[in-house]
């Protein structure tokens, strides 16, 4: 009989009523401590303390309430920056609903989502002023709806929320207490997150303060951080995973969070902020690994590196960490003091964890879905299994149905989707679309997916039907099925399209020996054109040609499972 893993008690975490209480607690408990940092163009650090965060949100919240936004919806777009955080907390802590948008969305997509969410304003950081103005203008011309823009500004250039923050501060100085008097309803929707839907149309996930604060408690009970910890926020800030694991939970622990506004800035941000913890998706974990191994190979020190790794791994068993001394060079790539990587958003090859641990970096996996606020499970600092997605948070129950699907119920599960009459929850249980199992020690594992959604290593969720619609609109393509590329390594970021040519519209006969080659040339060119219409992560990198129509079910649905993983004859676009 296998020995069961001993369960450590959960970290002692106080319940938080709402996100306003989170900030009030931060200002009280971590007075004088840095909450957020940004880099100026000149490379200087600008910091914001927990008390300033609380004061700024009070002032901006007051301004929003005075301008009549209570009970309304405000969309939010921007890069990872304090201005985005200020806007987010000011909105949700003033009885307003925030609708965070992916900054990569096209103008048309922004218009569609603003219309669907029926927002009253679009708030943007200074760097996204042009996109916001264009989207609001397009919304007006396409739908006749006129909404306002709110400039959240910038901490490092031009000032924060110039039309709101000074006004709010003046109101507070005059004794305006509308913000302080406002009672937050923990169960009311405070956030609408657009996520990939099962039909190809994104769905608006309705989350409340209570959902989010329950998830903060659940996540912090499992993963321990401290006030000395420094995070660098690099994943898209509109995403539920970054918000919970990279912002809200670290704020509970009094950590400092440095913002990385763009991927290009990441090396500089790691060097300057010197994080002790990072929340990443597999793409980063794989790329950092490849970069370290490339540098080792180029320096011709592979043997010394392997030896140092072995020594570090051996001594770690006795609680001795010598990675700082023996592996200082590769560790410098992360700023030199990284201790923890939490990896989520997509499946990670478990072989990376021992590599990182030998460098003195504990790499643990977690799992979540936006509908669950989002964390469902995460490995613990000292209690982990590398092939598992961890222990289940205390705020959620998990059950596996007869088909193997993971269902989640509990305080962190959403109330439903925006404007959907049919309740997706069954007696409070949310079907995740992922297949999994729980082992004897209570660790959760993902074994597959029962929905069509493709999860790439960069954490992006793709509904294949959306890309397929774009492909079949090409003259040369009769049928298209989009699948993920190779499961591990750099290829996991790519989409592959299985294509049946439309010989008829190309005036070709499938029986002619040259027909496929002629069709291929046209298909390749049309995929390239089609790619230009798609956001970068939805582009098709490779294709597999088929001469016969895809096999269908009795209801005329393509049997996708026959094509997933079948990349024989694949060619890059």
């Amino acid at each position: 009989m296998l020995a069961r893993m001993r369960r450590e008690p959960l970290n002692d975490i106080e319940p938080i009523r709402d996100l306003r209480c989170l900030l009030e607690r931060g200002a009280r408990v971590f007075l004088g401590k840095t909450a957020f940092s940004e880099l100026t163009h000149a490379g200087e650090i600008v910091e914001v303390g927990y008390d300033q965060l609380h004061d700024d949100v009070r002032a901006m919240g007051t301004a929003l309430l005075e301008r009549g936004y209570r009970g309304k919806r405000i969309a939010l777009i921007g890069e990872n920056a304090y201005a985005w955080i200020l806007a987010y907390f000011s909105i949700v802590n003033s009885g307003i609903t925030v609708v965070p948008f992916d900054k990569e969305l096209s103008c048309d997509e922004l218009v569609e989502l603003m219309d669907r969410a029926d927002v009253d304003a679009l708030c943007h950081t200074a760097a996204h002023t042009a996109e916001a103005l264009a989207a609001v203008g397009a919304l007006h011309s396409q739908t006749g709806r006129a909404i306002e823009t709110i400039d959240a500004g910038s901490l490092t250039s031009g000032g924060l929320a110039p039309d709101f923050l000074p006004f709010g501060r003046d109101e507070l100085a005059r004794g305006n207490d509308c913000y302080d008097r406002l009672e937050i309803d923990p169960q009311a929707t405070c956030s609408i997150l657009f996520t990939s839907g099962t039909t190809g149309t994104s769905k608006g996930v309705l989350l409340s303060h209570g959902n989010l604060t329950a998830n903060i408690k659940g996540a912090c009970e499992l993963v321990l951080c401290g006030i000395e910890d420094v995070f660098v926020s690099v994943l898209p800030i509109h995403h539920a995973y970054e918000d919970m694991a990279g912002i809200l939970s670290p704020l509970y622990y009094g950590c400092a969070i440095g913002f990385c506004p763009s991927i290009k800035m990441l090396p500089k941000c790691l060097e300057v902020f010197r994080p002790t913890a990072l929340c990443l998706v597999p793409l980063y974990v794989e790329t950092f690994h490849d970069r370290i191994m490339r540098a080792v190979k180029q320096s011709g020190r592979e043997k010394q590196f392997a030896f140092a790794q072995g020594v570090c791994a051996f001594l770690q068993r006795f609680g001795l960490n010598v990675a700082d001394k023996l592996l200082a060079e590769p560790r410098a790539a992360f700023g030199g003091r990284l201790e923890l990587i939490i990896c989520g958003g997509a499946s990670l090859d478990p072989t990376y964890a021992p590599f990182y641990r030998s460098l003195g970096v504990n790499l643990i996996q977690g799992y979540g879905v936006s509908e669950c606020s989002p964390i469902v499970s995460v490995n613990r600092n000292n209690e982990y299994k590398d092939d598992s997605i961890g222990r289940i948070v205390s705020c959620a129950e998990v059950r596996i149905d007869d088909d193997g699907q993971i269902w989640v119920r509990g305080a962190s599960v959403m109330s439903g989707y925006l404007d959907e009459k049919d309740d997706v929850l069954v007696d409070g249980w949310f079907p995740t679309g992922d297949l999994g199992r729980v082992d004897e020690d209570g660790f959760l594992y993902i074994t597959g997916r029962c929905k069509d959604i493709i999860v790439l290593s960069n954490g992006k969720n793709i509904m294949p039907q959306e890309v397929e619609r774009c492909l079949v609109s090409c003259e040369s393509i009769a049928e298209a099925v989009v699948v993920a590329g190779a499961e591990t390594g750099n290829g996991s970021e790519h989409l592959v399209a299985h294509i049946v040519p439309d010989f008829e519209s190309l005036d070709l006969s499938a029986d002619e020996p040259e027909a496929l080659a002629v069709a291929e040339e046209r298909i390749r060119s049309e995929i390239k054109e089609s790619n230009r219409k798609l956001v970068y992560y939805k582009r098709v990198a490779a294709y597999v040609l088929h001469t016969k129509p895809f096999e269908k079910t009795t209801t005329r649905k393509v049997k996708r499972f026959l094509l997933v993983g079948n990349l024989e004859g694949m060619r890059y676009v």
């Binding site: 991927i263 793409l283 750099n490 970021e493 790619n531």
Partner: protein, 75 residues
């Protein structure tokens, strides 16, 4: 311009088996991911002493896109 771009890409990917042409697909043929593309673009920035905004990088599908972008920026 193409020769300079080709030399930078060749130095970055370190692959002898690939002939880089204007038609080469950046992510597919070069076998790099989106993070590595950003790293590669940083090398262009240094070589051509210019700033390439991240949103512009999303338009780099082929080597020709990069060459055209750099030529337009230099004009």
């Amino acid at each position: 311009m193409f020769d300079r771009v080709k030399a930078i890409i060749g130095g970055y990917i370190q692959r002898d088996d690939l002939e880089i042409t204007l038609d080469t697909d950046v992510l597919g043929d070069l076998g790099i991911n989106s993070l590595e593309l950003v790293e590669l673009v940083c090398a262009f920035e240094m070589e051509f002493d210019m700033d390439i905004p991240e949103k512009d990088i999303r338009g780099f599908l082929t080597v020709n896109d990069i060459v055209c972008y750099l030529e337009a920026a230099a004009a």
